[in-house]
Symmetry: C2
Subunit: 716 residues, 2 copies
């Protein structure tokens, strides 16, 4: 986390002066390339090479040390051996620098000795309140012509544009820069965060949100510096700017390392935690680097799609079908044509045209037909954007199609995207259209993927902005349940205490009466309503069924007496030493669907709510989903809908649907509990019974494990 002075990180992105400590003239050295890059990018401030070995570097007067500089450098770029870095940071701080980019490697990434050097570096930076990028990084750039900063040792620099890129891997960042430069993809800023000793992706999200030249933010991460802070930072940023992320290490060493820290259910689903945090933050996760840039192109264009309705206009059937398939896969919709529009187009287009959506104008279409068809479809309510798919079999040149698209664009406010099928991204026609605000793709699927992403982002920014609901809680009752367990030296709460705590948070359990005598039980049962359940109540018996301490489906008074006697005998025989407080008589939960609700706690993500259909669905089919607590009503609803077995709750075979609203509220209540009670390490409501609509949810079994008292729990 950054310890520097400003949320904008101007000391890193807009420094008035830079000292490059370790600048060099020796060919092949990082200090040589970096200083040359700095000059070549047209830096508007003053760059000072610092190196006792040289009088000048790249023709610029070189200083032997930081103390000799004629002014305080705002930013230091550090390219000295690891052992000398902390001292250099100290000198930079004394010289008045506010930030440093530490290129040098040899820190935490190489083991304990390096980690010690990194700790020292951090201590010096804190002392001087300096913002630090790195160590072990590839550098920083800002293509703002007022700044002209390229403090990387990249061989290639992309053109100026509105895409910001933050990479946890230097080499991956270097590859991306090479790609972006050769494909003419415009970047605003780039940061390789390296070991994240100071500035991390969370600081950068906040800074990039405030950069007027950045329209969208791409992230490459192998892990999140802090999952909880990421959620907060990203959720804020995505209100205004799209964030696309590649999260790697799903399967490799990174994940193996992470596994040793976390609980069992979360363990197998660690990658699902990332999915959860991205979903809750409105961050779009992308599967491949190629895909990342295909999506970036459409966001960079500034187009916005107001809804999921897509019109496809094409001169050929096959590519139109390919586009339609892709649209459905992307969750887009293809509204049918209004009668008037259909009639007008049918009169205008060749008789063999397919006047529908996709609209196949056939190979005979001329440029005016392209333009007018596009405008007719864009004019329809329910159409939020259009894709033109043009195949080379047609009668018109690519240039004529491009001009027709631009004419339509001039007359409609809705977004238009083009697929010049088979034309390479680097062709003149593509450049012509893209320079005029029409993102253009080689294949229909790629264009549709971009449009789908645009529509998803719009759905995110226009979602109902609900607050997290806070339900009234009997706090004293909850605290007592925990305090008593602590006093008794327990980390696992007795079930009645777990129930008590959960009841304080509004989770329903079947009504129960603790009976000391069989007459108490017989008196209580009719009020609870037969059938009832009888359970031994003893803090010393945790597995009641093992000692014959549970009887289900007791239908009447006679059966209750018989069960009591049988249970008393059996428990006494099986657990002669156990203190027995009595027997609980409980209303038996009527039929419903079994679900599981749980709480897990993770060092990076904090409190997590787990949901799944109970029994085999969770255990064998791993059909579970996660969200970070606290969560909003929408997240609770999404959790329920996102398990594969959700259709079971909607009702199958003519059953009534289950009470999904009550289930969603229970998830919110458990989420509130998770966020408010850092003492709870784990919680399981398994099973919880979801009754038919209108009849609520009832928990049957509760298990709560507290954080060991010595350990201070991470709070929400």
């Amino acid at each position: 986390m950054n310890v520097g002075r400003s949320a904008e990180l101007d000391e890193l992105f807009r420094p008035a002066s830079i000292a490059v400590v370790g600048a060099s003239n020796r060919p092949g050295r990082v200090g040589t390339t970096l200083f040359r890059n700095l000059l070549a990018a047209g830096y508007r401030g003053i760059a000072y090479p610092v190196n006792p070995s040289w009088k000048s570097v790249s023709g610029v007067r070189c200083y032997p040390d930081l103390a000799s500089l004629p002014e305080a450098p705002e930013l230091g770029v550090v390219i000295v051996p690891a052992a000398a870095v902390a001292r250099t940071i100290d000198e930079l701080g004394r010289a008045g620098a506010q930030g440093a980019v530490v290129i040098s490697a040899g820190f935490r990434e190489v083991g304990d000795a390096g980690a010690a050097l990194e700790a020292e570096l951090v201590a010096r930076a804190r002392e001087h309140r300096m913002s630090i990028v790195g160590p072990n990084c590839f550098g920083v750039f800002n293509t703002d012509p007022e700044v002209g900063l390229n403090a990387t040792f990249s061989e290639a620099l992309p053109p100026a544009g509105n895409i910001a890129f933050v990479s946890q891997s230097g080499a991956l960042g270097a590859g991306i820069l090479r790609y972006a430069a050769s494909e003419r993809i415009g970047f605003s800023r780039f940061v390789s965060v390296g070991n994240r000793a100071g500035v991390d992706e969370n600081d950068l999200l906040t800074a990039l949100e405030r950069d007027p030249r950045t329209r969208l933010i791409l992230l490459y991460v192998e892990s999140l510096a802090n999952g909880r802070r990421f959620l907060e930072a990203a959720r804020e940023v995505t209100e205004h700017k799209p964030v696309l992320v590649i999260k790697s290490g799903r399967t490799s060493a990174g994940e193996r390392a992470a596994k040793s820290h976390t609980g069992s259910l979360a363990q197998s689903g660690r990658d699902q935690l990332y999915d959860a945090v991205f979903a809750q933050a409105g961050v779009q996760r992308v599967d491949s680097l190629g895909g990342l840039f295909r999506l970036a192109k459409i966001f960079a264009s500034g187009l916005e799609m107001n809804g999921p309705g897509l019109a496809i206009v094409t001169n050929s059937g096959g590519p139109g079908i390919v586009a339609a398939d892709a649209a459905i896969r992307q969750g887009l919709q293809l509204p049918g044509l209004a009668d008037g529009v259909r009639a007008a187009l049918a009169a205008r287009l060749p008789s063999i045209a397919s006047v529908a959506n996709p609209l196949d104008m056939t190979a005979e279409a001329d440029p005016e037909e392209y333009r007018d068809s596009l405008l007719a479809l864009l004019g329809q309510p329910g159409v939020d954007g259009a894709l033109v798919v043009s195949s080379p079999a047609g009668n018109v040149t690519g240039e004529a199609v491009a001009r027709a698209i631009l004419e339509a664009k001039a007359a409609s406010a809705k977004p238009i995207v083009a697929c010049l099928f088979g034309v390479s991204d680097l062709s003149e026609e593509v450049a012509f259209l893209e320079q005029r605000g029409v993102p253009t793709y080689t294949f229909p699927e790629e264009a549709v993927e971009g449009l789908g992403s645009l529509a998803r982002y719009r759905a995110w920014t226009t979602r109902p902005h609900e607050p997290v609901r806070t339900f009234p809680v009997e706090h004293e009752r909850a605290e007592q349940a925990i305090a008593r367990a602590r006093a008794a030296g327990r980390t696992v709460l007795p079930e009645y205490a777990a129930r008590d705590l959960l009841r304080a948070y509004g989770i329903r359990f079947p009504e129960a009466v603790l009976a000391r005598t069989v007459e108490d039980a017989v008196a209580a049962a009719p009020r609870l309503g037969f059938p009832v359940v009888l359970k031994v109540a003893s803090p010393e018996i945790s597995h009641k069924t093992d000692v014959g301490g549970v009887a289900l489906g007791i239908g009447g008074t006679g059966e209750l007496r018989a069960s009591w006697e049988r249970m008393e005998r059996s428990v006494r025989a099986a657990a002669p030493e156990a203190r027995i407080d009595g027997f609980e008589v409980e209303a038996q939960v009527p039929a419903g669907k079994e679900v599981l609700i749980g709480i897990q706690r993770d060092p990076s993500f904090g409190p997590i709510v787990v949901f799944g259909m109970g029994g085999i669905y969770v255990e064998a089919l791993r059909d579970v989903t996660f969200r970070l607590a606290p969560m909003r009503p929408r997240s609770a609803q999404h959790m329920i809908e996102s398990v594969r077995s959700y259709p079971l709750l909607r009702g199958v075979r003519g059953e009534a649907p289950s009470d999904v609203p009550a289930l969603a509220e229970a998830l919110e209540r458990v989420s509130q509990l998770a966020a408010e009670r850092p003492e709870i390490a784990e919680l399981d409501l398994n099973p919880m019974i979801v009754r038919p609509a209108g009849h609520g949810v009832v928990a049957v079994d509760a298990r709560i494990v507290l954080v060991p008292p010595s350990r201070s729990a991470p709070s929400a």
Copy 2:
């Protein structure tokens, strides 16, 4: 289906002479472009323009009609109005042509009148035994320098190579040619099949298999001309050449049209039928056109991967992790390093190198280290191929990396693929490597995708070649069950008849005795073993439970008598008219897992076997899978493993695993029945009970619907 003379289709691909009927000089006409293309491609035969309007076309003497030609043209290319096409085909036939490519449109695709013209065209072609491509197509080419045939009106021609492409859409084919030409992707042959009045993808698969210049076959289809024939043709071809397919129309008009033909379960899963046929034929289905060409590149290189073991050698951590993630997703494995290899590399590489798989040599790696690391990993048993991921942050040039890779390639027989991270496909470095047999990609995921596809193809060609098993069948018993139903005018078989038919095929049902009197029942029950089930036996009662005609779990003789009396009263009351043959006493099926096995019949795919876990898994969660009958043991096993709920059969919560081998055999037996009994339209075994391993499977309920007698069923 082709009605021509040769499986090789040489009359289309290697004609000694061609008559282009409708060749022209008028700019923009198809006949103009096509004839120019023919000359420009360096055709080695004789091209005759035929058109009464011109003396010469493109400088070549033009003939007024086919009768005037100085010799019999082997192939005709037809570019005349639809109404004149059948006559032209007839004239071509009379002139001695063996094949025709019909470019003209205006046939089946425009409605009934066009369909009539198409039928006439087909009739003329049959008469003369001519091979027909089209109508409504984009043409044919063959880059073989001995032929030099380009009978398309494409604006672009890809270089010669070893990829054959068959497209159901002309415009899509045109786009693909444009793309391939600009990306320098080499093609052997190309065919746009249009309306498939004659030659279809099945004929072409067979012809292309025999073309020595074609190494792999790409297909674009919106539907299959005949699903059953495709399975047969493709299964043969994929033994020798990979086939990659894009099947579109998953969601669009194409699918909607298809839906009206087929049964309900198959309806929702029609796209799954394509998945089934592709899986059974060893055809790899690809999701996007971009992806198709990324895979084609690696197959075109001729590399083969003997197994799933991949070594990743890189100069950078991040891209290595990205590659490793992708490898796991692709089903590849990353074998660990042998101790000796590890020690040798650790001694050789920089101390900060990560000596594992992925092997991160760090940015300091020199070309010798690239080469030697590659060879060390390739030398390990269990490693079947290597991927080099080179990021620009390193110390060496792309050219040096390329040379190091080629040195390793010269010393190892295992395949090597390169990712020059961020370098565009059209760069010199990429061309340098690819010309020397190293497929090279821009991003790590793309390279790994290719390697995964290679490994899957190898797994297909080296799978155990089992025959379809034919189980002994009581054919007479099966035929009688069908014959009696036919004689009674039924299409739905009575359950006992359905059981009889299935028993003839070796499907087990619980042992049952038809009791005429209660004393018969009481005598039979102990032999069957309590608990037993009692069911009314009446051909006139199909829903037994509705009339109180089923009693389960009868534990003893007294209960049996009581059940008999109760059932007799209840059935008489509910169905006073029904003829009652008696009551069946049946051994109750012990516990097990419920599954569904079914048969469906499709006009294109023929008999289909359906499998899923029973009850809600099929009904609500649509967790079913399909295969075409007959199927091999491997397919039966794959069906079982491919449902999401398969873990339930492996055993959960400490249960014994289910008898999967017996289930697989039951699927094979049902598949044999489906293939041998075209009279059966639908069959459902639902539920079938899979007992614990070693205890077999037992069907509980059987339903069979016959094909209406008027309709002749397609046979397997």
